[in-house]
């Protein structure tokens, strides 16, 4: 216990960085995932193909590999963008990698919601002259939203924990700090493990309750 108390500042810093990773990559995943799902259900064959190909590449590649490829290939291609010392190049690489990876799962979660809506709803929307975009916006997505919450919450919970993979490219998030503390305090390892596990559980609990809340607030429609 003493180890955790002595290094509390460092641990908080680590989790702060974890949360930044989650926020940035989660936003990328939400935006890109929505674009991808629109492509996958669109009436245009080439867009469907592009969307499906994206999913096949990013869902089928280990996250660690994606982060390593971005961290090591991007500089070779001339991308070395960083905001400042805190949001340095490796942080940016991890954010982009996590975002690209999670977008594939967000897309599929959204698609499962869209597929849960009976085909007749889309046909009725088309029959009164709505375009694809209009029927999505006014008819399909509002109804899909509720069905989407549980799988979407799971996706974001997975993303929160997957931020730990960023330690492999040297991002000083929580797991990086955990590894460091473990190296320095070999006698208190299990306390350190449980301490950090608890930290992740708190983050996940917040996402899960946000999901539950969203589900309940939507319960009255229908």
């Amino acid at each position: 216990m003493q180890v955790l108390i002595d290094n509390f500042g460092q641990i908080l810093d680590g989790f702060a960085k974890t949360l930044w990773l989650l926020l940035f990559s989660g936003t990328i995943a939400a935006v890109l995932g929505t674009i991808l799902v629109a492509m996958r259900v669109s009436p245009v064959a080439i867009l469907r193909f592009a969307g499906t190909s994206y999913i096949n590449v990013f869902r089928n590649t280990p996250l660690l590999l994606i982060l390593l490829i971005i961290a090591f290939a991007a500089p070779d291609l001339g991308f070395t963008y960083e905001i400042n010392n805190y949001f340095n190049f490796f942080f940016m690489a991890a954010t982009v990698g996590l975002g690209l990876y999670a977008a594939a799962f967000v897309c599929e979660a959204l698609r499962s919601g869209i597929n849960s809506i009976p085909l007749g709803q889309a046909e009725a929307a088309r029959s009164i002259g709505m375009t694809f975009a209009q029927s999505m916006r006014s008819v399909i997505l509002p109804q899909a939203a509720r069905a989407v919450i549980p799988p979407l919450a799971s996706t974001y919970i997975a993303l929160a924990k997957n931020t730990s993979v960023a330690l492999a490219i040297g991002v000083t998030e929580a797991s990086f700090i955990m590894k460091k503390l473990n190296a320095e305090n070999a006698v208190a390892r299990w306390q350190i493990f449980f301490g950090f596990a608890f930290g992740y559980m708190v983050i996940v609990a917040f996402i899960a309750s946000a999901g539950a809340l969203a589900e309940r607030s939507g319960a009255k429609t229908r």
């Binding site: 009725a124 088309r126 002259g129 709505m130 229908r222």
Partner: protein, 258 residues
């Protein structure tokens, strides 16, 4: 208007409202629509009957391209049905459709179901659209239900809302794809009454149905469809009293036994 046999409806200078020529469609190996040629005049009520799997629903759905066809052309008021996109959506707005499963928007109230199209597609002012929607709902006898959700209504009420939703777009033609097939007997009547009234008001209608009573009272023409072909085409009297094809005789024999 009392009777409009298929050939006299094409008076010189008037284009048919709906014109199908050489229409073919396949579902895999199944040739569901075979060389369909069909002209429907303004104000005409055409009832399509036939055994299940005959292609009658597909024929109905092809008219607003919910089912794309493989060959031939379909014209609506002289305009060829566009393939995709905005132009197709605009043309669909001119064609009302009523489905077997009602397909009301489950997350919207009855009133919002009816106003959605006029507001989003036609760009009508919301309060105007609501006023008209209320009148339409009164006309089909569900004005009281305006603020309920579809799931709170009986099947017959839902189907009448669906008719009002289609009418709100001021369609040139209304398609009915087995509108009473998923209704209890007592609800069938309330829906058919609305449809007969529409027919009497001069709406052009294509109705796929098993309701022979409706065909007799409201139809100008009966199409008997079997195996993807229009096998027989006649006025209701001719068709029911004196069918010419064996296929139609057989079909009528089966359904009129009960």
């Amino acid at each position: 208007m009392a009777d409009a046999p298929s050939d006299s409806s094409e008076a010189p200078g008037t284009t048919p409202l709906v014109a199908l020529s050489g229409v073919n469609k396949w579902f895999g190996d199944l040739h569901v629509l075979q060389d369909i040629n069909l002209d429907i005049a303004r104000g005409e009520v055409v009832v399509v009957i036939g055994p299940s799997g005959s292609g009658k629903s597909t024929l109905c759905r092809a008219i607003n391209r919910l089912e794309p066809i493989n060959e031939g052309e379909i014209k609506l008021d002289g305009t060829l049905l566009p393939q995709e996109g905005k132009a197709l959506a605009q043309l669909r707005a001119e064609v009302g459709m009523v489905f077997q499963a009602f397909n009301l928007f489950a997350h919207k109230t009855v009133l919002d179901n009816v106003t959605l199209g006029p507001i989003k597609v036609r760009g009508r002012n919301a309060s105007e659209a609501r006023e008209e929607a209320k009148k339409l709902l009164d006309r089909v006898g569900v004005g009281e239900q305006a603020n309920k959700y579809p799931a709170q209504l009986s099947g017959g009420q839902q189907q009448r809302v669906a008719i009002a939703r289609a009418l709100a777009m001021h369609p040139k033609v209304m398609l009915f794809d087995e509108p009473t097939s998923s209704l209890d007997p007592e609800m069938i009547k309330e829906v058919l009454d609305v449809m007969v009234e529409l027919a009497n008001d001069g709406m052009t209608m294509v109705v796929v149905t098993h309701e022979m009573g409706f065909a007799r009272t409201a139809a100008n023409r009966v199409l008997f469809v079997a195996d993807g072909k229009i096998v027989e085409e006649a006025t209701p009297e001719e068709f029911f009293t004196n069918p010419t094809s064996d296929r139609a005789k057989d079909f009528l024999g089966k359904i009129l036994q009960h």
